[in-house]
């Protein structure tokens, strides 16, 4: 079932041809569940390439539903959802899988690492469904781990790592495929303050290196530290600080955040 885009769709952000292309575009996106629960009530949103966005709101505000739509794990009930330029409603389940494999990286609150496997293998799994061979996956995993400052933990098993390290492994796994969009769902939710700050630092560096990042959080302090904040309540955007001006956006896109490696504290 693919509902047609609603006509009340409007362009939320200024469509300046000079602006970088959108990674996320939502037009009148709604999500309802049987029983009359409206998790999202007509959301319009545009996130451009290279942005770092906080999606913030209390639990039940619809931000997790939004994450599922942005991550193409779920489809909107109505409205249009475009991710990395693809109209999600027009893609089959298999095509959505390919979209996730190549264009979206996920970071979860609870890391979701395979406990008995090494950090390298966990990160290499981020490339498993993209078609790369084992040798290439391992080599790129090694590089990604070095990028998040875990070059010395490559052969450690996932359950031997600290919480902060686990989340950095998870970030490396999300990054290893060089995605257009990094979705982080409460990335510091299961960490102590120090590790959480470290993880946020890493995210900011990735952003500085050109990665588009959406951080979903209920933590206002974290949201306030990010350049753009989109506040949710009852399935609607109640406040969008908007994309920062040209001075606030990254001036240039570097292909890889590798040059920042040494800045990552261990």
């Amino acid at each position: 079932m693919t509902p047609a885009p609603t006509d009340r769709a409007m362009t939320p952000a200024p469509t300046d041809p000079a602006m970088p292309p959108a990674v996320i575009e939502l037009r009148g996106a709604t999500k309802s569940y049987p029983g009359g629960v409206h998790a999202l009530r007509g959301v319009d949103l545009r996130v451009a390439q290279g942005e770092l966005v906080a999606i913030v709101g209390p639990s039940g505000s619809g931000k997790s539903t939004l994450l599922n739509l942005l991550g193409t794990l779920d489809r909107a009930t109505s409205g249009e959802v475009r991710v990395a330029g693809y109209d999600v409603n027009r893609l089959s389940d298999a095509q959505l899988s390919a979209l996730r494999a190549r264009h979206i990286g996920f970071v979860f609150q609870h890391f979701h690492l395979a406990p008995g496997r090494s950090a390298q293998d966990n990160v290499a799994d981020g490339l498993l469904y993209g078609g790369a061979g084992l040798r290439e996956r391992r080599a790129r995993a090694r590089t990604a781990l070095e990028e998040v400052g875990l070059g010395h933990r490559i052969d450690h098993l996932a359950h031997q790592l600290s919480g902060g390290e686990k989340q950095r492994v998870a970030i490396a796994r999300a990054l290893v495929g060089d995605p257009d969009l990094l979705l982080a769902d409460e990335p510091t939710g299961a960490l102590d303050t120090a590790s959480g700050a470290l993880v946020m630092n890493l995210i900011r560096q990735l952003h500085a290196a050109g990665t588009t990042v959406c951080v979903i959080t209920h933590d206002n302090d974290i949201a306030d530290s990010l350049p753009r904040r989109i506040r949710f309540r009852d399935g609607e955007i109640v406040d969008d600080s908007g994309p920062p001006g040209p001075s606030g956006s990254p001036a240039e896109h570097t292909d890889s955040p590798a040059e920042h490696t040494e800045e990552v504290p261990r």
């Binding site: 959108a22 794990l73 330029g85 390919a98 494999a101 406990p115 008995g116 469904y129 078609g131």
Partner: protein, 398 residues
């Protein structure tokens, strides 16, 4: 803006195996236990087939050694219920049948066997006396266990050779002793090894014709004629044997082929083998249910892993093949272990029986094939269930 057409990448066979095995590596105890069910089933079936094949092979080897070309013609009773006597010329007449290579005879001697004169005459020893020709041993492929067989000299003297059971019944373990036949002392010159083709002779005391006629009142009429012919003509000889040994009274002569009894034994084992195979199949079925159960639980437990894999870009098909592969690996593990166990059991048991162990390759192939079928059948439902799991539901399970 719209990117190029999206097509999910195919996992290489090696990656399919790796992902399928990843679930097994972290749950070893459960893997061993559920593979054990399959292993027991396969081991039972392989061992049953192996043992029945080995025992049959042994029997056939024995038959081969003993020959299937021996026929016996035994005097029975005529229509009036009287004992029939075969003519003294019976052996000579049988020898005149074209394909017959060898003919000999034994004749029942009405004599009582006693260990010594201290044993009362009324006490039955369970040993009968037969008069035999010196060529009997060759005709039956029998051999002497201890001492010596009758020869042209000793067949005239009061000497006796005992069958293996007869020696046991008389309490003799070595030749040299004297026993009483009727009231005549006979020297035991030899004890025979068991005669597989004609086990009735094991219970007899064999004496020479001349000696039997002279000391025991034997009338010289044979009661059983033994003959060997070429393999190809056994049936033809069987057709004329009764008529030849007792012309005009062939109805009272019983012709039989002793090797048939051994061959029949091979056939009767079949029923037991079928029953055991059935038991093995039940064990295998239970093992399969165990694998299915393990897989269903595995899918339930690993919802968040499934969600993660979907988020990383796994298609429903990749999830399905992962769990199917896991189930296949699980049962293949059990199947391989079972086939090995079954083969080892066959070799061990065959060794204790002195057989040559035979494990038919088709039983191994069949066992492994059955395992793979079980793996697919047991894994299909859990795999489909895993692949149908909605990614958001799977991820929220943690």
């Amino acid at each position: 803006m719209s990117g190029p057409a999206l097509r999910p990448a195919r996992l290489s066979p090696a990656d399919i195996l790796r992902t399928g095995a990843s679930g097994l590596r972290t749950r070893r105890t459960r893997v061993v236990l559920s593979a054990l069910g399959i292993a027991i089933g396969i081991a039972t079936m392989v061992a049953v087939v192996g043992l029945s094949t080995s025992s049959r092979a042994d029997l056939l080897a024995r038959l081969d050694r003993l020959g299937t070309n021996l026929l016996t013609a035994e005097a029975g009773r005529n229509a009036l219920g009287q004992d029939v006597k075969l003519p003294k010329s019976a052996v000579a007449m049988v020898e005149r049948i074209g394909p017959v290579q060898h003919a000999t005879a034994t004749g029942a001697v009405d004599a009582r066997v006693r260990r010594s004169d201290a044993v009362p005459e009324e006490l039955a020893s369970g040993v009968t006396v037969q008069a035999a020709r010196p060529d009997l041993l060759d005709a039956l492929n029998a051999r002497v266990d201890q001492g010596s067989w009758l020869n042209p000299a000793s067949e005239r003297l009061p000497t006796v050779v005992l069958g293996s059971v007869a020696a046991e019944r008389l309490g003799l373990t070595a030749p040299g002793a004297k026993i009483l036949l009727n009231d005549r002392w006979y020297v035991v010159t030899g004890i025979l090894a068991p005669i597989e083709l004609v086990p009735t002779l094991d219970r007899t005391a064999l004496v020479g014709y001349p000696s039997a006629e002279r000391y025991l009142g034997f009338d010289g009429h044979p009661t059983t004629v033994f003959e060997r012919s070429t393999d190809a003509s056994v049936e033809a000889v069987q057709g004329v044997l009764a008529r030849t040994v007792s012309p005009g009274d062939e109805g009272s002569v019983k012709v039989s082929r002793p090797s048939d009894a051994l061959a029949a034994k091979a056939a009767t084992d079949k029923g037991l083998t079928t029953l055991m195979l059935g038991l093995g199949a039940v064990a295998l079925l239970v093992g399969g249910v165990g694998v299915a159960n393990t897989m269903v639980i595995s899918v339930l437990e690993r919802r968040s892993e499934i969600g993660l894999r979907r988020a990383l870009g796994a298609t429903r098909g990749s999830i399905r093949i992962q769990f199917l592969t896991e189930s296949l690996l699980l049962s293949a593990l059990g199947g391989t272990a079972g086939a090995a166990l079954g083969a080892i059991a066959t070799f061990a048991f065959a060794r204790t029986q002195g057989w040559i162990a035979v494990v038919p390759p088709w039983s191994l192939a069949g066992g492994l094939g059955a395992t793979l079928v079980i793996g697919v059948v047991a894994g299909l439902y859990p795999a489909v269930r895993a692949s149908r799991l909605h990614p958001t539901v799977a991820l929220s399970a943690s």
